[in-house]
Subunit: 119 residues, 2 copies
């Protein structure tokens, strides 16, 4: 990319792309699945469950958190992570409703509204 062209697209389009980008790695899918099955987990517990080093997992958690996909609850030195289901649902909704497939519920927050405008 000679020059980054992200500024040539709308903020809503960029936001939606960034959300999708947060899901665009098998490790992050695995983290979401692990958190889903566990309800919540610390970084260390996720490291133990995945074939990746601690800094790498921490990095992936930041990627997910940056787009609002996680609930983060510090418990002393330990940090408890869990899924923000709302954000995930709203992301899906922004695709479904604008594509007229009809079976999604109403969006629940602001970022979903922005995303829906993107497409």
């Amino acid at each position: 990319m000679t020059t980054s062209k992200k500024d040539l697209f709308s903020a809503a389009q960029v936001a939606l792309a960034e959300f999708a980008g947060a899901l665009a790695h098998p490790a992050r899918i695995a983290i979401i699945g692990f958190l889903q099955s566990r309800g919540e987990a610390s970084c260390g517990e996720i490291v133990a469950a995945l074939p990746l080093a601690q800094p790498t997992v921490s990095q992936h958690l930041q990627s997910l958190n940056r787009v609002g996909l996680l609930h983060v609850r510090p418990e002393g030195a330990r940090v408890s992570y869990s899924i923000n289901c709302e954000a995930l649902r709203d992301f899906c909704h922004s695709f479904q409703c604008t594509l007229g497939t009809g079976d999604a519920a109403e969006p629940a927050n602001r970022s979903a509204q922005a995303m829906a405008e993107a497409i």
Copy 2:
């Protein structure tokens, strides 16, 4: 990345990540939105609508097509593209139903089943 770790994750996880990756660029979100509003369009018409060169748009179309997001219909030299709504709906479903948010319909094809298994 010293060594690619994609082989350390399940095929379903990789598939889901690749699908998300296809949505992870503002230009591809814009293409989806354009196709949605138009119903169908040729590569050239998309090029005219976006601030990108023809090879770049063609490349993005390949990215979307690789994960099954497009219907491709050649009409002589021209190629007509449109959205595979089914694929997009199934992608969203695989997140929604496994997260237990409940408001998604049943998946309609095989790739959705694979995706649902990922998480």
